[in-house]
Symmetry: C4
Subunit: 195 residues, 4 copies
């Protein structure tokens, strides 16, 4: 029934979910009620929240750019794409939860490692789902706009190193979670700059 | 006045509500502040939240797909469709509340049964409203695109078993609420796969 | 600079705000943590929340319909329309706050009257802003689509009784706030049916 | 890869983020649970919340208008515009956090100054990012619609005084934070009226 869907409404719906997920992230940032006596310090102490906010925001921003780049070159979506896209959106929408865990756990010893790994695993899942979708589209001529095969293949193959980076930083997180948290930011910045 | 509305803005508005309802679901997931000592366990203990999140997400995702399939074949919306659609959106937007009840009540004995039935009843209401809308559109030639009558009738008749499944799982919920919670997930997965 | 704006992006932006405001309403509904012992009763006791949710939802839904009906007949937006529309959206976005006050105050004696009047005053403000915008558009030929003058004038004049209803129910709220709360629901249902 | 992007999806995505950020602002407004005994007073005492809400709402509203005015005259977005726009959206989405700090800190002595300066600095950052984007577009003929160079340059140069106002009110905030809070409102109203 959904075979060969026009990509217009799929893009609009995805954009809606990206825009909302990206904007909800700020709700996790707050200053405790009893910290208003020394607000300068309280604002400064929220740095893990800012780090998590910027990392998740730029990660979703880069994904939006890549999503746009992919569907601009697609002529239609088959049922695999539609379903993978729903699962991808489910992972993106989930991101505010691990983001808030990282924001709260950084600077807290044990919980730090767990939170950063859980966060990184979610980021890896998002990237892997997007890479699977790009690879599927690249392999079907009937989903591609004329002459876009090369570009989509290039886009698809450029996603592989990203996955490698996530795995590397996840391993790093076991030994140095705070450093790994900045590593995820670096991956996001790199993705924005390279896209 | 709203008689014979163009379906474009109706679809855009519905997509907006679906995208927001789907994305707000994550706000219900959190780890209590005093559980950061053993965060691995605390994250694992949130499984009812993940189950409720995935079920509601996939249910709304399947509805979005079916909604898209229906209005792609409509040429216009009459006042019945516009009003039914508003009530449908009201039920969809309400979903995060029973979702959070299920997430909190699973594993809690008595409240479990109540929460799962309340959740299932909301899912049934959403499905019934959509089925009523599809049936109304299928019965009016002036709302259908040329040659779409058969497809819309097929889509409409395929919704009936869904309603039956919901009723069956609701009955099951009286005896085995946790099993029924997974039953609602199964219906959602099935709807995504079949659509 | 914004003189004679195309109405497309204005409608899209307004739809976004309406869709979000309508969907955020559910966040105000919750069951206290210690009420899970008797969840059936706790769910039933939230009736003021449901009343407030349905009333606000249908009010914004009716406004969306009327907004759609108005701009479908407009050919352009001048700077007055753009500004009035921003103030209108500000009032609509504000609605979740008085909605939550009514939900919490109903059944609480004194606070009830205050909350219902505050809520009704916000609804009146929303309606008055929309009526002012419709009247402005009806009075400018250069903002109207050809031949739409009569329809927009009719739409505009049909808003006057709504304002009267709101004033009447606001007066009623001084003596019988709970009855008035249902009165606001009746106005919303009427608006949906009549639009 | 993103070089020479069509501006349509960029505008739609930006509108989504603006609409959500603007609508989330209301979530910061609430009345403490124990204040329902004297609700009239409790509602009145929330004036700093209303001030912060209206200021942030009108600031984002004015930005939306200017954003619309800018991209209506652009024919394409290069990679600088796409990236600056993502950072701009990140700053806009962040606004609800300093908004809530101002709402809570006004009338609280020391914290007042800090909160108002932090809020104003965020507003200044938003304006500076938008001004940088407008200036970049004004300087590239290949991004401009035919004959739009003059208008975009005018729009761009009109943003400079805004930046000056923000700096002036920020200095004022050191001595009279509450007055400065109203100053930010005045800048927003002025921006709406002048755009």
């Amino acid at each position: 029934m959904a075979a060969r869907l026009d990509t217009g409404r799929l893009e609009a719906f995805s954009d809606g979910v990206f825009a909302i997920a990206i904007t909800l992230l700020v709700l996790e940032i707050s200053v405790p009620d009893d910290a208003f006596d020394d607000l300068v310090r309280a604002i400064a102490e929220q740095w893990p929240s800012y780090l998590a906010y910027v990392t998740s925001f730029l990660t979703i921003g880069a994904l939006w750019l890549a999503h746009h780049g992919l569907f601009r070159r697609s002529s239609a979506a088959d049922s695999v794409v539609v379903r993978l896209n729903i699962v991808l959106l489910m992972a993106v929408s989930f991101l505010p939860f691990p983001t808030s865990l990282v924001a709260e756990a950084l600077d807290r010893g044990d919980a730090e490692t767990t939170a950063v790994i859980f966060y990184g695993a979610t980021l890896l899942a998002v990237s892997a789902l997007f890479a699977a979708m790009a690879r599927h589209i690249a392999s079907r001529d009937e989903l591609l706009q004329e002459g876009a095969r090369g570009e989509v293949a290039a886009l698809s193959s450029r996603l592989a190193p990203s996955l490698g980076f996530y795995v590397a930083v996840l391993v790093l997180a076991v030994f140095a979670p705070a450093v790994a948290a900045f590593g995820f930011l670096a991956i996001a910045v790199l993705a924005i700059v390279r896209t």
